[in-house]
Symmetry: none
Subunit: 534 residues, 2 copies
């Protein structure tokens, strides 16, 4: 079983994606998630090129990783400088990563045009930079920028650039299709030539997706001898992105019989894909292979009846092997079984012909047509289910809220204040609080009124807050009057839960989600108390 | 120059995509657009399988197409029936299309399991169905469903299924990777075997994208002898979709030297891609190769300075050849050259060593570290640029705003009211308005105060409103106190523009974006007036 190492560059090349904007703290969280997935190398940034990466490399010092080696990325030294005096190489060493990856030119035209140096001088830059780094870090990787274009125009020179890096001590030579324009057959030809010219050298592939061939080109390079694939989670990256590791890894593991992150870790693929898209706050791509919401979703009647007989008839792999699941898209029948399945999962036994199931199905369809999306808000679904079953306890009842946002010329931010009136255990509570914004103020005022009665509410923390404008409504009513969906993630020492609200008014939508979050906490505390686990 | 025909199945296989929902009228409009693009075959539906397709085939009768031949799609006849009595074959003929495409089983397991017939009987179904159709329509195409899986399990039988259709008179044999699970090297092996076994037969390829290899597999089949590619615009289709024709066509035309729709038609590719996504009301995929908004967008400083010297350094084709255009993005990774380029694009000539460039770069990096993202808000960038250059006109000045959201037990939604105080042309305006939410109310109150002075403001409409919670801040301050970025898209009869605001407080962030939107409108009106274009 051949081993292929996975080199993730989501935090460096992926961060060049148009809509991607990660903070240093986001990068730290993603790095740990990639490590959990079993990724072998994490290229985390270009130290010194921007403030985010500088902060990141400071923050990451002292963190330990189970599987991954951290890599800092940069270029060969400037032609008017020497390795010793080069700021870029110095910044790479200051990042204190076990691995340093530098790119150099292997396309003759790029050396002379983009860099403006002679072909000979370009080889010196490669030689000098690698030689300087090798004794100073654990592992030096050489990225041959534009290798395939270079090979097409001047194969001899492109190979010479690789040999220069190899002779200078680079542990690995990575063939980059920087413009993403190379066809798979051309990748094959060039990889064969490299393997023949540099027997025994460790080869990697770094493909871009401008021709929609990055995954195919990566697999083809591995088939012909490469032992490392560079890419990004979800294929994020500049222009059309990089080779999508969420497709590369399962193809290598499940179809080509290679050892990468292992079959057990592979089951975390979907969770990792979601984690990265959520952290970057990018909308997941439904049709994404392997991990997309539609990847194992069946709509056509013929397909559905066939997969019910034998799932391999229309599924190329078992969805569970990458953490995904089969979905049958909604029909009335699928709706009932979805509800039964979900209720059972939460511990509520409903009979198939139970009238509650129909009531719930109607309610669900109505709410979803308004923009509610219960698949992402389990806690709000459970509260709706309890209501339908007559099990929901009223911990408090709403009377009134009032929120003010006021700003004067001289204020940097508005002054925000909320007042809330609720009934709790027969008493009227009227409270007020300020906040960092209207939702924060409302949340604080509401909790003030409740904590005297339910002191455990002080345990909960709001972990995430998401707002999505529902595009269907925009066209009709104009932007600022469209429907919004608010999702709130809340946590205590036991667990995390997500609740939801939908309204024209963002305050009202947030209020619904906050109320559900508190109701859910109180219900779970009751349950734990009843089970004697507290 | 080899000719390869393009067979589009957006209206049939594409319509199986999870979010795709086309009316019969949508399908007619898309068919004409595909014809204009120079597509050779349009597979328009499965007559009789659903009411939309039935209506479509009624409506399309009598329409003429310049380039495309219309195809109706169906299956071989039922085993308990005969061709003469089979409802499916009858419906195909009633569609009155010049081309009929039928699929049959070529995977032995599928014949016996999914269809439940003997291997011999399956060949009879193929033979009988093709023989029946050939004298009744212009052209019969045979889709060998699951051909590659079939070839892997039982190559002899898979080839026998093809030969049966060929001998019965099928004009073309299409090799289908129905589950999308086949690797490119396996496609190559099977295509070679088909070409060797059936010399002279016209071969087509129909690939699905479940392994992210549909484009590569299509190109590989063509390289080895296939003369037709089946696919969909934007790769729409069941599960992960079909081979994306927006990538297949330019790869064949521009890189493999094949004749498909021709270089002139190719320039309509982007427009066709947008037309289909707009008609289907699906959000375009930014990173889509060739036609995506990000496909030729450059963010990194090094790339930008290189493309300014020579665009082939980081672009694999000329964007114009597919109707796309180069874009330079602004970000904290941007260098001076991004700013110079962007300023020039907007019509501001800045010298390379101009102090304003440094001021702007510092400001940009500071703002982006706070969460501003100017690459998606061109209008806010231009206002910042004008400020830095001392060119910004103050159309009004802010004094005060006050927003109330109040809700009582008995109200379905809160009551919302905003008051605004501004100075306009030396006068103090104090206005009030209600709204569907706090931002809507503020927007209305502000415009009330301004429209008396700037009546053209009544022309503008808010088109979209996006809220993003910046995840970096969530952990530090708790969900409801995190930073939010608001993007507003505004339009008038001339153009559309995007503005932005960032704050802890969603009201304040929205206010910033609304103020920029109005400032931008007033500046553009001035400019048009100065240029005498109004």
């Amino acid at each position: 079983m051949r081993k292929v190492t996975i080199y993730d560059t989501t935090l460096r090349d992926g961060a060049q994606a148009e809509e991607m904007n990660l903070t240093a703290q986001d990068k730290v969280r993603i790095a740990h998630k990639l490590d959990e997935l079993g990724i072998h190398y994490i290229e985390a940034g270009w130290p010194g090129s921007n403030p985010t990466d500088a902060t990141f490399f400071e923050q990451i010092k002292g963190h330990t990783f189970k599987n991954a080696r951290l890599a800092a990325f940069g270029s060969t030294h400037l032609t008017r400088s020497t390795p010793e005096k080069d700021k870029n190489l110095a910044a790479l060493l200051e990042a204190h990563t076990p691995v340093v990856t530098i790119f150099g030119k292997s396309w003759d035209m790029h050396a002379t045009t983009a860099l403006g140096v002679s072909l000979e001088r370009n080889l010196e830059l490669i030689h000098n930079s690698v030689t300087y780094l090798v004794p100073r870090v654990d592992e030096v990787i050489f990225d041959a920028e534009h290798f395939f274009d270079g090979y097409r125009h001047n194969p001899e020179y492109a190979l010479k650039a690789l040999k220069t890096a190899l002779d200078a001590g680079a542990a690995r030579l990575v063939l980059c299709d920087t413009n993403g324009g190379t066809l798979t057959a051309s990748v094959a030809e060039a990889v064969k030539a490299v393997v023949a010219a540099l027997p025994g050298a460790e080869i990697g592939i770094h493909a871009h997706n401008d021709s929609e061939l990055a995954v195919a080109n990566s697999l083809e390079a591995v088939r012909l001898g490469a032992s490392q694939v560079q890419g990004t989670i979800n294929g994020y990256g500049e222009r059309c992105g990089n080779a999508n590791l969420c497709s590369v890894i399962p193809n290598l593991e499940l179809k080509m019989g290679m050892k990468t992150i292992g079959h057990e870790n592979l089951k975390r693929l979907l969770a990792t894909s979601h984690f990265v898209s959520e952290t970057a706050n990018l909308r997941p791509f439904m049709r994404q292979p392997f991990v997309g919401a539609s990847a194992f979703a069946h709509k056509g009647g013929i397909h559905v009846s066939a997969i019910l007989k034998d799932s391999t008839t229309y599924e190329h792999i078992h969805p569970e092997s990458v953490g995904n699941a089969q979905r049958v898209l909604l029909s009335d029948q699928a709706g009932r079984s979805n509800i039964l399945f979900k209720a059972k999962e939460l511990g509520y036994e409903l009979g198939k012909s139970d009238a509650t199931v129909d009531t719930l199905l109607q309610e669900l369809k109505l709410k979803e047509s308004m923009g509610y999306e219960y698949s992402v808000a389990d806690a709000s679904f459970e509260l709706m289910l309890q209501k339908a079953l007559g099990l929901k306890k009223d911990y408090f009842s709403f009377r009134h809220f009032f929120v003010v946002d006021a700003k004067r010329e001289e204020d940097p931010e508005p002054f925000t204040e909320a007042t809330v009136i609720i009934n709790v255990m027969g008493q009227v509570e009227h409270t007020a609080a300020t906040g960092m914004g209207p939702v924060n103020a409302l949340d604080r005022a509401l909790r003030k009124g409740l904590e005297r009665f339910y002191p455990k509410l002080s345990e909960i923390r709001l972990l995430d807050f998401k707002v999505r404008v529902l595009s269907g409504a925009v066209r009709d009513t104009g932007g600022t009057a469209s429907f919004v969906r608010v999702l709130i993630e809340t946590g205590d020492k036991h667990e995390r839960w997500t609740t939801m609200g939908v309204s024209h008014n963002i305050i009202e939508a947030s209020w619904q989600a906050v109320v559900d979050a508190i109701d859910y906490k109180l219900f779970r505390d009751d349950k734990r108390r009843a089970q004697g686990v507290e």
